[in-house]
Symmetry: C2
Subunit: 198 residues, 2 copies
């Protein structure tokens, strides 16, 4: 049985729940008490020494990092639909996994942490960087329905949560109609599930 070390309000945990739901996979969700600091103590640190949710176990397989977990689930249980095998198509997906891992995490997701959980940051700079990122993504989506392919892939699943949750960081998507349309397309996928704020 897949076990997801989970937290309801984490967009990174949510993206794993979303892929599991889209693939119709059963799993056990184990809530990690972030407010009590459980992610920074054993036994959780044995699953992920970086002290971050999510983590996933699948029998003897133990994985940290939401993007890596998406890759594992897609390859193990999703055929090649959600993660292509051919080099250029795989590279195209990987570009957006990196964008989710760094640019989205450092901008829109950080603004959300600031307003929702009180994390101290330079909000003016983060807001400016967030809108610069949204501008690039909006232009990219102006000529295509999905980020990395002509069908949805884990690139979309990885980038979607914190973009869709932009309002939690007091960021408006109004000027980005192609992003708004893409968010709606994801919400229409068979098996879609939401999270608080989505």
């Amino acid at each position: 049985m897949l076990k997801l070390y989970d937290f309801l309000l984490s967009g990174n945990c949510y993206k794993v729940r979303l892929l599991l739901s889209l693939l119709g996979l059963e799993y056990e969700s184990i809530t990690v008490g972030l407010k009590a600091g459980e992610h920074k103590k054993p036994p959780f640190l044995e699953l992920n020494p970086f002290g971050q949710v999510p983590a996933l176990t699948d029998g003897a397989v133990v994985l940290r990092d939401s993007q890596a977990i998406l890759v594992y689930i897609a390859r193990r249980y999703g055929g090649t639909d959600w993660l292509p095998e051919e080099a250029a198509a795989l590279g195209s997906v990987m570009q957006w996994l990196s964008t989710a891992s760094k640019e989205i995490a450092n901008t829109v997701a950080t603004a959300r942490l600031h307003y929702l959980f009180g994390t101290a940051i330079d909000i003016t700079t983060v807001e400016k960087q967030s809108y610069a990122l949204l501008q690039v993504m909006d232009q990219h989506l102006a000529t295509r329905h999905w980020l990395a392919s002509d069908r949805p892939t884990i690139a979309d699943i990885a980038c979607f949560p914190y973009i869709g949750l932009a309002a939690d960081g007091k960021l408006s998507l109004d000027a980005y109609p192609h992003i708004v349309a893409w968010v709606e397309r994801i919400k229409q996928l068979p098996g879609y599930v939401g999270m608080p704020g989505l």
Copy 2:
């Protein structure tokens, strides 16, 4: 012919040069004038709208992001040695590509930017986060020779440059003997090339 849009002092460009050299692949290196801001203007922005080096073209294939470029090259030209196909092994590599993309970029690489190029940051916080990361990596490497497998993979190539360049950010590796040994193992790989600072 592979064309790498390149910058000598960029660790992200270097990791691509390193893999190309380890695989014995010929390529054309095209220097992007970062000091003149060429990466933030057309025509470079058409290759990478995020305005960052490296970018790679291979015929009609255009890729941004150093981790995605490593994935493409490894899958297209490296068989399964540098990037395994099996789900758990692939996920294991992906964990470290995310670490390179985010944690290493936000810590040791940022400290280097500060001291080498004068980027304004909260250096005290970044230094603390850098040593926390090095501690986790050192413990991970205490029981294994390579980050993600029993042989070198692109996980090692992705993480190596900015860890190996830690001294540029006035960070010492002295307390991390397993990292130091891993850096030396990478330097012994057939086809290894260095960069200034390595």
